[in-house]
Symmetry: C2
Subunit: 136 residues, 2 copies
DNA sequence: TTTAAATACTACTAAAAGGTAGAATTAAAA
DNA sequence: TTTTAATTCTACCTTTTAGTAGTATTTAAA
């Protein structure tokens, strides 16, 4: 019941850049301030660049910057990119074939939190991380 | 954002047995009705036996049965057993060092669904699966 | 024009989760 | 007492996720 590491890292990276949106950030800086292994970070950065969250500048004095305004990148966008989302139809037990007449003891209780989580991911953008300055 | 397969299977197995609590169930039957690979199922059954959810009878005419009343086994118990729980302190981004004065855009929104999920797992017992007869 | 400092690419290794194979053990039925 | 049908044990294989290594490419500064 958790996000995968790549998603977590990606959100932290993007949030940090959103919070310091004027400069260009290079991999060394990001790796050190966010405490993410350098090689793993560059791999994620390349994925974020390819999937158009980030614009990268190569060569000396290069680095990374956001590709669009902070309020146009939702957490859901990021999670989708790393196949780490919760669908409305998702069944906790991985069955999903039951209907109203025969459901397990979790079915109804799962509806509400699932909706809240979905809404949370859809309605939160990088803009909501601005000024937050949460640790690491 | 999902349970691991072993947990899911374990819950399905225990629920099924709870629903048919008079008989002894053997691995072949469980594997076939619940559509869980036989060898994987027996592995899980042995774990469930060792962790005292299940009492097994070995030898010919052997099988499995619940070790205690259906209302004394919560879903949380099962998840704990397979290291698949959500703790109240758990942070979505795996940081968890932030406090009230500096929190990210998800922190407050995560509180409510997390509580609901925890409550759901703690308050649901195998008894709540009785008579449900959900598919597979 | 060379060098330094950055990203990108290719390919691999490590750990965890998911799953399988085969033999050993147990105990009732034949 | 032998056979059969069940669980258990040990050891392995496969897939996915996480992470690392080394080299190639790019570009601006020196
Ligand atoms: S009833 Fe339970 S098992 Fe069936 S789809 Fe709903 S949550 Fe899943
Ligand atoms: S503020 Fe965000 S990152 Fe920090 S502990 Fe809360 S949820 Fe986790």
């Amino acid at each position: 019941m958790r996000l995968n590491n790549t998603s977590k890292y990606a959100i932290r990276i993007l949030s940090y850049i959103a919070n310091n949106n004027q400069q260009l950030h290079n991999a060394k800086e990001l790796s050190e301030t966010l405490d993410i292994p350098y090689k793993f970070l560059t791999k994620i950065m390349t994925e974020l660049t390819k999937s158009n969250f980030i614009i990268s500048t190569r060569g000396r004095e290069g680095g990374y910057t956001l590709s669009r305004p902070t309020d146009e990148i939702t957490i859901m966008d990021v999670l989708q990119n790393f196949n780490d989302i919760i669908y409305q139809k998702d069944c906790l037990l991985g069955i999903g074939k039951c209907d109203g007449s025969n459901k397990c003891g979790l079915h109804d209780q799962w509806v509400k939190p699932k909706k809240l989580i979905k809404k949370m991911f859809e309605n939160t953008t990088l803009n909501d991380f601005k000024g937050s300055n949460f640790k690491i």
